[in-house]
């Protein structure tokens, strides 16, 4: 509001000017209110300005990949829920797609539509909560978060109805989904989709044009497109930097080729763009949802002609080979790489976790900004520690 807020940082060279400035090293996390879990950053501050930042991960490490290599393929499904516990549906989808690729399973249309509907709902939930948390990090005392959570609850109700669980859904199966969607549930989803634009408008008028929000967000934490590409950033963060890359368009996996939707691109790659691109992505998701709900037709929800190996999931042995399945998860490209040696357990199992890879540019984005900005920048990356640490 009162000053161009670009922080003019001047590297104080103590040799040249003869000044002795004392830096302060603070540990933000793992017990810190706004590190989105048990993340830790060691920040060296000069006054309030970030001089260096070292992310320290691993406080939530649960040996996800090793566990998956010691259990059956289908037993990994509930574990994927716990990767990014905000988006269990898209995690399920990525894992299911990987194994289906390995076992060469054809999936019926209705199952694909249900998967798309679920993962787009997940995107809504994720984006709406991350924007709420971002504003919370900025100091808007929980109001945006709770506004967002009101909508999130409605979606979670649907998840509960279809899968029996609100967050750890474990809904998808190799070859389809666990249970069919009833007409009631479809109606429930239709109502959410119909109501959502009004909420988005409300949410936007609440803060999108607020001067303090703009001051805190615009031109803060700029991530240049080049760096974003080199660091293999994906998802809304990459698109906020102006790079047109969306796996839904690139791979056209599932039935995404049947929908009309656009990819919003950011202008500068700052926190504000990351925030606003997510807002726009939600509107696009709603478009997809509307089309999917229109196009979905009755039919089988599990592959009717299951390969012999899938008959008994406990004894499921895919052929020898490797597969990499990826989806456009709300946070970016979520991929599962799996190598099968023909036994019941994967020989190698690896997760390409978008949160983790997006987090790698944190220091580059934070240096030269203030401590308060570093928190907001971290919030704009959208991490979930379950996925970062695995």
């Amino acid at each position: 509001m009162f000053e161009k807020m670009r922080v003019k940082t001047k590297v104080i060279d103590s040799g040249k000017s003869g000044l002795d400035t004392q830096t302060l090293e603070v540990n933000v996390g793992p017990q810190h209110p706004s590190t989105h879990g048990v993340f830790r950053m060691t920040i060296v501050l000069d006054g309030e300005v970030v001089k260096s930042l070292r992310p320290v991960m691993g406080y939530l490490h649960r040996n996800h990949e090793q566990i998956a290599e010691n259990i059956t393929y289908s037993a990994s499904m509930p574990y994927t829920d716990r990767l990014d516990y905000f988006n269990s549906m898209s995690n399920n989808q990525a894992w299911a797609m990987t194994v289906e690729q390995l076992a060469e399973v054809e999936i019926p249309d209705r199952a694909e539509y249900i998967r798309v509907i679920m993962s787009e709902l997940t995107r809504l939930v994720n984006h709406v909560s991350v924007i709420g948390f971002l504003l919370n990090d900025m100091g808007a005392f929980f109001t945006p978060t709770l506004f967002a959570f009101r909508e999130r609850e409605k979606v979670l109700d649907v998840f509960e109805a279809v899968s029996g669980s609100r967050m750890m859904c474990n809904y998808l199966r190799f070859g389809g989904v666990n249970r069919d969607l009833t007409d009631d549930q479809l109606g429930q989803i239709k109502k959410i989709v119909a109501d959502f634009p009004a909420f988005l408008d409300e949410f936007e008028t609440l803060l999108a044009q607020n001067e303090i929000v703009c001051m805190r967000c615009q031109n803060v934490g700029v991530l240049p497109a080049e760096l974003a590409i080199n660091a293999s950033i994906t998802g809304p963060m990459l698109r906020a930097s102006g790079v047109n890359y969306d796996i839904r368009k690139v791979d056209q996996y599932s039935v995404y080729d049947r929908f009309e939707f656009k990819i919003p691109l950011g202008e500068k790659g700052d926190v504000y763009d990351r925030y606003y691109v997510r807002m726009l992505e939600m509107r696009e998701s709603l478009k997809i949802l509307n089309q999917a709900l229109e196009q979905i037709e009755p039919g089988p929800f599990m592959a009717p002609k299951v390969p012999a190996c899938l008959k008994n999931p406990r004894n499921f042995k895919p052929p020898v080979g490797e597969a990499y399945g990826r989806v456009e998860a709300p946070k970016g490209e979520l991929g599962f790489y799996v190598v099968s040696d023909g036994s019941k357990e994967p020989w190698r199992y690896h997760v390409r976790a978008p949160s983790f890879i997006n987090l790698t540019v944190l220091e580059a984005m934070c240096i030269g900004y203030k401590l308060a900005d570093a928190i907001v920048i971290l919030g704009s990356i959208d991490i979930v520690l379950g996925e970062v640490d695995r």
């Binding site: 001047k10 060279d13 000017s17 003869g18 000044l19 004392q22 302060l24």
Partner: protein, 173 residues
């Protein structure tokens, strides 16, 4: 009412005693931060003494300027110049004994002089309202003392600029 007067007297003497203890602390405490806070306490007691002799305005200015302004500045400087977690260095130099002798001599010389001079003027009407209202002070600042007042204004302005110029960091040209 003599009883009330006694109470107030006790209060004033108490303030003086506390002030002296705190002053000793301000001078001798090895931790500068503590010394600064002790000084703040001395300043508050002196403000109390000002109030007790009817100089309410000055008492308030004392707290506002000294405690709120100067003390904050001093403590801020202590924090700026002291390293976090640095070891305490010796606070006093080796002139302690000489300084104490000098001060003792000073007190022993002037103290008796004060006590011997019996004829200090004493005002009788103790319970009378304060002699000077804020209005009086303001009027005389704008009339009789207007010249020093203006000079002071210029001085403060110069100080403002000077302090900024001295303390600001050199900008590489």
């Amino acid at each position: 009412m003599p009883q009330l007067e006694f109470l107030i007297k006790c209060g004033v003497y108490g303030l003086m005693g506390l002030g002296i203890i705190a002053a000793v602390g301000a001078v001798l405490l090895p931790n500068l931060f503590h010394a600064g806070l002790a000084l703040a306490f001395v300043l508050v007691t002196i403000a109390g003494i000002f109030m007790s002799v009817g100089a309410e305005f000055l008492g308030m200015v004392q707290i506002l300027l000294y405690v709120g302004g100067v003390m904050t500045l001093i403590i801020y400087t202590i924090m700026l110049t002291g390293r976090l977690g640095a070891k305490d260095v010796r606070a006093q130099n080796r002139q302690g004994i000489f300084a104490a002798i000098a001060a003792g001599f000073f007190v022993c010389w002037i103290g008796p002089l004060i006590l011997k001079t019996g004829a200090w003027p004493q005002r009788e009407s103790d319970s009378a309202p304060p002699l000077l209202s804020v209005e009086d002070l303001g009027m005389s600042l704008m009339t009789e003392y207007v010249f020093p007042f203006e000079v002071l204004g210029v001085l403060l302005f110069a100080v403002l600029i000077g302090a900024i110029v001295i303390a600001r960091q050199d900008r590489p040209s």
